[in-house]
């Protein structure tokens, strides 16, 4: 097997069709992860230890086991569970699987953002007699969210690179198209290279953008000075 530029040129439009599915699926999974992340934050703030503890370990469990196995669980095992089991189409399974997996990361980001708000801010809002909802809306969240933007951006890029996992349960996006092409013509390297190039083309500029965001927000929020 040798490298063929003809094959390379030929597969570009084929893979390109899958690019939109990959991007769309990334956004869907990411939105799900962003929203579901609040669920974990909420659960960890319930003032009852056992619930707290239980959800912290469930999140830890999901975070430290492979998303691929979780995808298989949702796609293959879920329908076999009595009563609650339903068969899901691959897209929905992917959104649920990757979305839930990454929600355990976004929740950590939210948590760190909330913790980064100075304790005095809570005390000051209590002193001004703000209600709990007012505290969150006017004082805490406006300070907690901006510093997390670069981190959340990073997770969007990471999500983008994890989405090809969905090809293993039959989502026909870039990687799947490349493997199909390979199986048909026994030409794998060119389509896979095209897939890699598309990933690079999208994720590298995004990473640069996020690096700039990071600098911007660090400048505004980093009050620490280095001394030893």
């Amino acid at each position: 097997m040798t490298w063929s530029w003809d094959v390379f040129i030929n597969v570009i439009p084929i893979i390109f069709k899958g690019l939109w599915i990959t991007v769309g699926l990334t956004i869907a999974c990411y939105l799900f992860a962003m929203i579901f992340g609040f669920f974990w934050v909420f659960m960890s703030r319930i003032p009852w230890r056992p619930v707290n503890w239980l959800f912290r370990w469930i999140a830890e469990f999901i975070r430290s086991t492979p998303p691929l196995v979780q995808l298989f669980f949702i796609y293959y095992a879920w329908p076999a569970i009595p009563v609650i089991g339903v068969t899901l189409n691959p897209f929905v399974a992917a959104i649920l699987g990757l979305g839930i997996h990454f929600s355990t990361y976004t929740s950590e980001v939210y948590r760190s953002g909330i913790e980064s708000v100075d304790k005095g801010q809570w005390e000051a809002s209590t002193a001004l007699n703000l209600s709990t909802a007012q505290k969150w809306r006017h004082i805490i969240l406006p300070q907690a969210i901006p510093p997390t933007i670069p981190m959340l951006g990073n997770y969007l890029i990471i999500m983008f690179k994890e989405v090809p996992l969905a090809s293993t349960i039959g989502v026909v996006a870039m990687l799947h198209l490349a493997n199909d092409y390979g199986a048909q013509y026994y030409k794998y390297v060119e389509p896979l290279t095209v897939v890699a190039l598309f990933f690079l083309l999208l994720s590298y500029p995004s990473a640069l953008l996020i690096g700039r965001l990071e600098k911007k927000y660090n400048r505004r929020f980093d009050k620490k000075t280095a001394t030893l």
């Binding site: 298989f72 669980f73 090809p164 590298y204």
Partner: protein
């Protein structure tokens, strides 16, 4: 009992999972250290080359790299690594080595300038400064993040079944294909086994977070 039967079946794959895990951790740590040091070294060629490597591997997806290596190495370059285990280890290590080199670089750059100045004032050579002052402090700072990456590597080892290695997940999939109704049990046991493997790494990470907070290991 189905559970015992499934567990016994899965045990046949745990060896491959562990081998890939251990080899990947060793190789990726080495790559990370070398690449991280090269990026702070004052040599444009070296810095440029490692920067290129890091961006390529961070910019593409591990699963794509894994397929690419498994087809391209034997086909394109006529490199036969003997077994697919090495293809998997190479792909995982190059990928995570790239990510982890960034924490090495970040940690080295975050050692306060005063440490460099004190080393100059004591007349240490550049190499001595790196070896005795900067790197030992940088390692301490990066250990928590390093622990997190070890967990990522563990999760990544599940991908090797996709290129035909007979790991934990591979045997799980085989069992599931013949016992469809037992799929929930199969995947739950697999997840639990991965979690068992992750627990020491989670413990390590938490401990290192405490160490890094203190800045210095006492005693």
């Amino acid at each position: 009992m189905a559970i015992t039967e499934i567990t016994l079946m899965l045990m046949r794959g745990i060896k491959v999972t562990l081998i890939v895990l251990v080899l990947s951790i060793i190789l990726s740590s080495l790559i990370a250290l070398i690449a991280g040091l090269s990026r702070v070294y004052h040599n444009k060629l070296l810095t440029g080359f490692t920067g290129f490597y890091v961006e390529i591997f961070r910019g593409t997806s591990l699963i794509v790299q894994l397929f690419w290596f498994s087809y391209a190495l034997p086909g394109l370059f006529n490199i036969h690594l003997g077994s697919d285990i090495w293809v998997a280890v190479l792909a995982i290590s190059l990928n995570y080595g790239a990510y982890m080199s960034e924490i090495v670089r970040g940690a080295i750059l975050s050692v306060p300038q005063g440490q460099t100045e004190a080393s100059i004032a004591l007349n240490l050579t550049r190499f001595q400064r790196m070896r005795h002052i900067i790197v030992p402090q940088a390692i301490r700072m990066m250990l928590p993040e390093y622990g997190n990456y070890l967990i990522q590597i563990l999760k990544a080892t599940s991908l090797v079944s996709l290129i035909g290695l007979t790991d934990l997940l591979y045997y799980g999939n085989i069992y599931r294909s013949t016992h469809l109704t037992e799929a929930p049990t199969v995947y739950m046991i697999i997840l639990l086994l991965y979690f068992l493997l992750a627990l020491p790494l989670i413990g390590f990470t938490r401990k290192m977070e405490k160490v890094a907070k203190k800045g210095v290991v006492h005693g």
